[in-house]
Point group: C2
Chain length 277, copies 2
């Protein structure tokens, strides 16, 4: 059963990277004027900024700050590199706290020089190493399983089942999962794993976009909802049946859309949100 | 536990598409001279040929014909197109029989205009429709699960678990599975599903190559064994523990390698087979 159409924008969140050509002030102004209620901030949008002031600016525009993207990339065959990743995740937790959001999304990483099992063990070790800081900062960590086409270098966690397993093993209220339709739509176990994720209390975030047919680039050819082959509304139905009441976050990497007028694109996003999300 | 190194070429098979610039005679001559013992023929290599004569020519070169690639592509929202696919699969079975091979590999297909569940139902229906012809021709059908990045248009069967399920449902000695490391290496259930595939008597074929890091093209940037991140030998160990004693088939689509000298490439394939398969 699909979810009912979204009749208002009260649960619409947009990732800053979706409209990458806009700086943070432009994004805030346009999102807010269009009635968007949430924003997820990518760290590149915070470079050389007073992060606390940036958070205040966003809230002054009436935007809830859903999460900060992204921490993670824990695995490496080299101990020094794993330590660099730990340090960077600590900084990301501090940034999330300063920004005033309670969630940091983790793209967990993978090192092709070692097995996926070893990478996963290092991911778990990395998350557990920074967990006390996350709790102290009031920042939840959301493990985002990535599509298997990213298993070489971006994430050794490639199904929702694996993310659920890891969140269950770590067993902390501060560690859960971000469900992104782009990464998970093909998985025959998706409905049951979304149910399990919700039942475990780990369903922290829900990201939407679409899979273009054909897809021309491994990274930057995501589609607007309704223009590809992902049953976005059906998956939203599963997520809501699992108890999720948070934002529907539009996260689209697209060379095509980044090259166009961002204000027109924002109108298209909102239409795609109402019609196909 | 990884498998022992392959000390001879008695189980080495190469797909004609791996050395696409060579025609069938050139492939036969070079493979045979190098000590390769098996060949899998792609249908494009048989166009406008007397297929029986082609089979005899290959056998005269001492090559076993492992399989014909490929049938499948059953799903469509349109009934006429599904019928065209059925007819084409019947022709492929006849071609396999004429060639003198006992196996046809199926890339099962998917239609992005419908759900993956509907595509899978049509795949099953398609296979069951041609099953009697396959049995009569003595041609086994090998379902090849494809990487989830091909779930939009190439296959709605994206894990070995799904292929095993379908083979079990169809429950015929003429329907089994082709395991390709490229499509399946990332799957956390791979070892257990290979075991199950063998126990069901459905482990028909084993294809090898590697996943380049980075991969630059969705289709034609596969790597030579040992040059990417797939634990090929470890997976061969699982396949052999599951009882497989057939050919190790080298199937590499690569614009890079197709652009070079094919005789030198064949030497590299054999080295990669000995050192990394």
């Amino acid at each position: 059963m699909s979810a009912s159409p979204l009749t208002d924008l009260s649960r619409l969140c947009i990732h800053t990277i979706t409209t990458k050509p806009w700086n943070l002030e432009e994004a805030a102004k346009h999102y807010s004027a269009a009635g968007v209620k949430g924003i997820t901030v990518w760290r590149d949008a915070l470079e050389r900024r007073d992060i606390k002031a940036a958070g205040n600016m966003l809230r002054d525009h009436g935007l809830a700050i859903t999460s900060l993207c992204r921490g993670g990339f824990f695995p490496s065959t080299k101990k020094e590199k794993r330590q660099i990743a730990i340090d960077d995740n600590r900084r990301a937790i501090e940034e999330a706290h300063a920004l005033g959001t309670d969630m940091l999304v983790l793209v967990c990483g993978a090192d092709p020089e070692q097995s996926l099992e070893d990478s996963r063990a290092q991911i778990r070790e990395g998350i557990e190493t920074v967990l006390a800081e996350a709790e102290q900062a009031g920042v939840r960590l959301a493990i985002e399983p990535l599509h298997p086409m990213y298993a070489d270098t971006r994430s050794a966690i490639n199904t929702l089942g694996q993310a659920n397993d890891m969140a269950a093993q770590i067993n902390s209220p501060w560690v859960g999962v971000a469900v992104d339709v782009y990464h998970l739509w093909w998985d025959p176990a998706l409905e049951q794993e979304i149910k399990r994720c919700g039942a475990q209390g780990h369903l922290f975030a829900f990201h939407v976009c679409d899979w273009n047919v054909p897809t021309r680039d491994f990274l930057n050819d995501r589609g607007l909802m309704g223009r590809g082959c992902i049953p976005v509304r059906k998956i939203r139905g599963w997520v809501e049946e699992a108890g999720f009441i948070g934002f529907n976050e539009v996260e689209i990497f697209s060379t095509h859309f980044w090259g166009g007028d961002q204000a027109e694109y924002l109108e298209q996003i909102i239409e795609a949100y109402r019609e196909h999300t």
